[in-house]
């Protein structure tokens, strides 16, 4: 039978484990202040965003100096996941500001009293085309823009002696069989943007047929942009030379290469580009509502805006100087694919459902 000694041994082992664990954390409290600083209320503003968001450190430092408040980042998955998580905790948010809701999901963000109305003073500096109308416009502040485009590995195509595809239609050509990898519209925001782009191009009646042809031609769908870009794209060592990414990816490759090559390995297929705008908003029920407003306001400042291209590989929405790599290598579609917000709102959930029905 269980002796009291066994019980004591069990309890002491578990207590010891807990103690070791606690020891580990307190050892390191110096470097993890940002995550445990919630106790000292008032000097932290929590930014809810997606995994791949990178805080522009220098700009953040300026904000922290001005306001005395630290920016703490809480990331939860891809942007769609982040928004859903925020919606499920609407009213009891996990942070003060949410950033990374894009134009494909903007209307969903308005559905559950997720956001407080807020309009920063600098909103006048943002071009009209990025602004939303109605309820969404009162709550969502445009912060950056970047087209979602297919990227092509130029060296791979040269090596194979295959011409670079230039149109969406060519992706269904057997010559380009098993070459494309996309992010899923269910879980990844470029994936959803691309799906909406195909609706824009082929219409409500034709997009499913296009996807069928894509599937017949061996398209691969990955749950997230990270998976597609970092695991499957030939430039990252994968086996697919056509990947769904951003118009800004080629200049970013150059920045990352740090002089390893003089021009980017990738180029953009302009025909595939879909316009994407990312917004920020103040979460309803935020613990630090005033700092939240200050942070959103600061996101439109020249400091933050100018830092966006090299931290998050997107274009600013206000007029600031672009880094030279961007100036030289970023290609932007003259006339990217777009669908107006009302049509997106009416169709989005149905399109996703139909897409899953067809592709999964």
């Amino acid at each position: 039978m269980t002796s009291p000694r066994t019980v004591r041994v069990a309890v002491s082992i578990l207590v010891a484990a807990a103690a070791v664990a606690v020891g580990c954390t307190s050892d390191d409290s110096g470097s993890s202040d940002a995550s445990s600083g919630g106790s000292s209320a008032g000097d932290v503003v929590v930014l809810v965003t997606y995994d791949s968001f990178a805080l522009p450190e220098d700009a953040a430092a300026i904000f922290e100096e001005r306001t005395g408040a630290q920016i703490q980042v809480v990331a939860s998955g891809d942007s769609g996941t982040m928004l859903t998580k925020a919606l499920l905790s609407a009213g009891a948010p996990e942070g003060d500001v949410i950033f990374g809701i894009d134009n494909t999901l903007a209307t969903r963000a308005i559905s559950e009293d997720l956001l407080e109305p807020f309009s920063p003073a600098a909103i006048d500096t943002v071009p009209e085309k990025y602004l939303l109308e109605g309820d969404a416009g009162d709550r969502l502040v445009p912060i950056d823009t970047g087209d979602v485009c297919l990227n092509l590995d130029q060296r791979w195509f040269t090596g194979q002696g295959l011409a670079l595809p230039t149109t969406l239609e060519q992706l269904t050509d057997p010559a380009y069989q098993d070459l494309t990898v996309l992010g899923s519209p269910v879980t990844s925001s470029p994936g959803l943007a691309f799906l909406i782009g195909t609706v824009a191009r082929y219409g409500e009646d034709g997009w499913q047929d296009y996807w069928q042809r894509l599937e017949d031609n061996g398209v691969r769908v990955r749950p997230s942009w990270d998976d597609a870009y970092y695991s499957d794209y030939t430039v990252s060592g994968g086996d697919r030379p056509i990947v769904l990414s951003y118009a800004s990816s080629p200049p970013v490759e150059l920045v990352f290469a740090e002089g390893a090559f003089s021009e980017p390995p990738s180029t953009v297929m302009l025909d595939s580009c879909v316009a994407q705008v990312e917004y920020a908003g103040v979460l309803a029920g935020a613990e630090h509502p005033e700092l939240a407003q200050e942070l959103v306001e600061f996101m439109l400042s020249p400091e933050w805006q100018a830092a966006l291209p090299l931290s998050n590989y997107v274009f600013p929405v206000v007029d600031v100087t672009l880094p030279p790599e961007f100036d030289k290598w970023a290609q932007r579609a003259e006339d990217p694919l777009t669908v107006d917000p009302a049509t997106i709102e009416a169709g989005r959930d149905r399109w996703i459902e139909q897409w899953r029905e067809q592709m999964e």
């Binding site: 039978m1 269980t2 066994t6 019980v7 041994v9 069990a10 082992i13 578990l14 484990a17 807990a18 664990a21 606690v22 580990c24 954390t25 050892d27 390191d28 470097s31 993890s32 940002a34 995550s35 445990s36 919630g38 809810v48 995994d51 980042v73 809480v74 990331a75 939860s76 998955g77 769609g80 996941t81 928004l83 859903t84 998580k85 919606l87 499920l88 905790s89 009213g91 009891a92 996990e94 969903r108 899923s184 269910v186 879980t187 990955r222 749950p223 997230s224 990270d226 998976d227 970092y230 695991s231 959930d349 996703i352 459902e353 899953r356 029905e357 999964e360």
Partner: protein, 544 residues
């Protein structure tokens, strides 16, 4: 017997019954919340979600795939497990009990850890890359469920009268024919029962599929999570919760029917004595069983440890050292060590609650066998983890009581999941307590409270210990419900592992492996302490 139980009823009026009612409410609230969202999506009654989900061919494809993978996993586990169980029951050899323990370890490990182990074994940089295919998932299910078959079928095999088989051999039957016509019919009920338990676990499998599926494969349970947390289709998720509820309850009903039928059958006559293997044939059977267990149960855990120590192309402790800090480039924004603390605290609270509630509730159930209390306490088995998680999130997130920020909500979900394990451990011990004990105490003038503390509890302590061990292990590994409820600044270890593994790249993967190793260690310590009390057998007993 009966009079004793009556006297107990009078002895503790109310407390146990109140506990049962509380359990009923705590389980009913999330289920109702999910049901209501299914038929009343935006505050308006509507059958739109039901027709949308049930009218979609994709849902039916998912249902068939879910059942098919459960059947495949079940068959694979039986094919591997029954021969191993036979060898372990029949032969005595050095290391037999160690082998049996090794085969049991995966069963008490968190499913996320099993997923992580197989991701390191069968993922990129592993032996073969079959991540995102059903092969990896079926292999992981086999590893996790092997203990179910070995324990259940093994118990039945050792209870078999060896004379029957000898008699068949004497009458001229070949060894194979004797096995087929004597042994197999005798252990068939145990094989079927084990098969149904494995089927049920695979039907509601979540952590393994989330980690190994890579978004490419899905089941009903995973689809509930995808719809709720990716598509923001709460009503659709609710409909699928109901589908899952029906599937689980139907499986439990089949299990109840079959095991009831089996218990009317033959009773144990003689315990089969294991003997040393003799001859090449028997030795090679033993060797195959040893290799099989090492490959199925040992290899994944070894791969886990190896990967946690791999830094680039060399071995090192970097992944372990980094656990104390937030690492850039991973999807986790608190340091992993903090998740360990969260998990230990939360699991301790939850397991304590499950034991208190389980023991008090089991007393009520024990005095009325087959009564309502029985069924209420086992209800959480019938409700899948994602349903509990989503339901609690929906239920507590409504004003005036918004508990989503409360740190108690995760332990509540974990306690709910662990409760049936405690009850299953404690109830048989309580039922077998002799009446005379209680009566003697009563005659000696010990009051009801004293009798509980000084007579009843010491007598059932082994069972309580076993239940506590199982409950703690279940709580610390809980993923399906916790993933809905744990907030970004307070992840538990399984949630942290999933977050770390959700992004490709080396740093997060290594840390996930190190965290998994910590959970293996914690669970192994608990298992070693309770295994002698055969806790796993109790945990496996679904029949009441």
């Amino acid at each position: 017997m009966v009079s004793w139980r009556r006297s107990r009823t009078r002895a503790t009026p109310g407390v146990g019954d109140l506990v049962v009612v509380v359990v009923l409410v705590v389980i009913a609230v999330p289920v109702m919340a999910v049901l209501v969202r299914a038929v009343r999506p935006d505050g308006v009654w509507s059958t739109e979600s039901i027709t949308r989900i049930l009218g979609s061919p994709r849902t039916w494809r998912l249902i068939s795939v879910t059942i098919a993978q459960a059947v495949a996993s079940c068959v694979a586990t039986l094919v591997a497990g029954v021969p191993i169980a036979w060898v372990l029951a029949r032969f005595r050899f050095r290391g037999r009990s160690a082998l049996r323990t090794l085969a049991t370890v995966p069963f008490v490990l968190p499913t996320v850890v099993i997923g992580a182990a197989f991701a390191s074994l069968l993922g990129p940089r592993g032996l073969v890359d079959v991540r995102g295919t059903w092969w990896a998932i079926i292999a992981a299910h086999l590893c996790f469920n092997l203990a179910v078959v070995i324990r259940t079928v093994g118990a039945s095999l050792s209870a078999l009268d060896p004379d029957q088989e000898s008699a068949a051999r004497l009458l001229g039957a070949s060894p194979l024919a004797a096995a087929r016509r004597v042994v197999l019919p005798a252990v068939l009920p145990a094989i079927v029962a084990a098969g149904i338990v494995v089927f049920l676990f695979c039907l509601t499998s979540f952590g393994v599929i989330v980690i190994l599926g890579g978004g490419a494969v899905s089941t009903i349970e995973v689809e509930i999570w995808t719809r709720a947390t990716r598509q923001f289709d709460i009503s659709g998720a609710g409909v699928l919760c109901v589908v899952q509820l029906v599937a689980v309850l139907a499986t439990l009903a089949v299990h109840a029917r079959i095991t009831r039928g089996a218990s009317h059958g033959r009773r144990v006559v003689a315990r089969r004595r294991a003997r040393p293997p003799a001859g090449i044939g028997e030795w090679s059977a033993v060797a195959s069983a040893v290799v099989a267990v090492l490959v199925i149960s040992g290899l994944p855990i070894a791969a886990l440890v190896e990967r946690s120590l791999r830094v680039g192309d060399t071995l090192g402790l970097a992944n372990w050292r980094n656990l104390g800090s937030v690492t850039q480039g991973t999807a986790l924004r608190v340091d992993p060590a903090e998740a360990v603390v969260n998990s230990l605290v939360s699991a301790s609270i939850a397991a304590t609650a499950a034991i208190v509630v389980g023991v008090l509730g089991a007393r009520v159930a024990a005095r009325r066998p087959g009564g309502r209390a029985d069924r209420v306490l086992l209800l959480p088995i019938g409700v899948s983890a994602t349903t509990i998680g989503l339901g609690l999130l929906l239920a507590v997130g409504r004003p005036p009581v918004d508990l989503r920020r409360s740190m108690w909500i995760v332990p509540v979900a974990q306690a709910l999941v662990a409760l049936p394990l405690v009850v299953r451990s404690v109830l048989p011990a309580m039922r077998s307590l002799p009446t005379s004990l209680d009566d003697a105490g009563s005659m000696l003038g010990v009051g009801p409270t004293g009798r509980f503390w000084r007579i009843e509890l010491p007598a059932i302590r082994p069972a309580v210990m076993a239940g506590a061990g199982l409950a703690f292990v279940a709580c610390i590994g809980e993923f399906g419900a916790t993933v809905f409820l744990a907030r970004a600044d307070r992840p538990t270890v399984p949630v942290a592992i999933e977050r770390l593994m959700s992004r490709p790249g080396g740093a997060g993967f290594g840390q996930a492996m190190a965290l998994s190793c910590i959970l293996v260690l914690v669970c192994a310590v608990v298992l070693v302490l309770v295994d002698r009390r055969s806790a796993v057998d109790r945990g496996l007993d679904l029949s009441f």
